[in-house]
């Protein structure tokens, strides 16, 4: 059965983005530091069409996360810096004309927009009727593969509160951000229920995977 798998990097104090996100700081002030562990990896560079890179204990985790994924769900702020109605069709995501997804991506928004077909197999679909609809559409689009819940915090917290997430793989970065977008915020006690599957001591980061229900 198709699973909804969250994989995300958070600071030790629980933030997945810094404060003041905008076009110059897509991840907020200091937020890019969260991902310093992933940029040098060969497995990451390949996804972005780059050569070279290193292999370490994080490599298998990155490969495991992208394996078996047939569709992605994200919040609107992860797609772009624009708030409110779309002024025009000119914003086409943070990733250029060939985004690193190569499958259908469902963007949760309050503002309708036509699907946006990019190069390399990525199509952005804009979903205005809520998280359950986005999940149902993503599961169909994934054709039996899993769905990646990519972020940001607000959308992830909604899926967690609704107990719709099947797996959580959180990379804990050795960093205090102090402010920003907080993961696991506004949840009821025990929501979701977690069962630790594995933890990986990697180069400057710890990856902890849970089964959620």
């Amino acid at each position: 059965m198709s699973k909804l798998s969250l994989s995300i990097t958070m600071s030790l104090d629980g933030y997945v983005a810094g404060p003041d996100q905008n076009e110059e700081n897509p991840l907020g002030v200091g937020g890019m530091e969260l991902h310093e562990w992933v940029f040098p990896l060969k497995a990451f560079r390949e996804m972005h069409g780059q050569e070279g890179g290193e292999t370490n204990a994080s490599s298998a985790v990155v490969e495991e996360r992208r394996a078996n994924i047939g569709a992605t769900i994200m919040g609107r702020n992860m797609f772009g810096p624009i708030r409110g109605p779309w002024p025009d069709e000119s914003w086409r995501g943070w990733w250029g004309e060939d985004p690193p997804y190569h499958h259908p991506v469902f963007v949760l928004t309050h503002h309708p927009r036509e699907p946006l077909e990019m190069e390399g197999g990525t199509t952005f679909h804009f979903v205005i009727d809520g998280i359950e609809s986005a999940l149902a559409q993503a599961k169909v689009a994934a054709r039996g593969l899993d769905v990646w819940l990519a972020g940001g915090a607000s959308v992830v917290n909604q899926y967690l509160a609704a107990r719709l997430v099947d797996e959580i793989d959180v990379s804990v970065a050795p960093l205090i951000l102090g402010a920003g977008a907080r993961l696991f915020e506004g949840l009821d006690p025990g929501t979701p229920t977690l069962n630790q599957i594995r933890a990986v001591d990697a180069h400057g980061v710890t990856h902890i995977k849970y089964q959620a229900s």
Copy 2:
């Protein structure tokens, strides 16, 4: 040189105690669940004068944490449920007449009280002139050994903000508490600076150790 070492268990959403701490719920509602990983351990049971218990990947972590410790610092709520001035001398801590410390323990409080000598080598000293004074006194009392910063969140966050903590060993429990006393709260970005030393994938818990500066 004597180090200040924080070791503490936190939920995945960052709490070290649940809400509504009182005499019946020293760790707040749901807070006891944080420590389910430690109770069955032989290394833990020995500290509390009990026989039996199991050995798993957490055992070496527990032993490492208690080795080389010559004094402990804690906040007042960790010593007892009483708020405001001490009504009398009758409260003698949560741990009975032979507490599991066996060394001097410095309790931060706003309300003066005479030192309290218990069985087994534990003496509680009540410090009213702040965290730096408590640390200085604890380092002297530790006689070259390290000082354990035990909790709770408020006192720990003050030491972290002042960059007085040398090591952080945080046990991440597979649990969402949703509310309570939050660790790493109110810190400035990058305060403290962290360097991951190791992570241990243990039975239902992950122990991540950082050098802090």
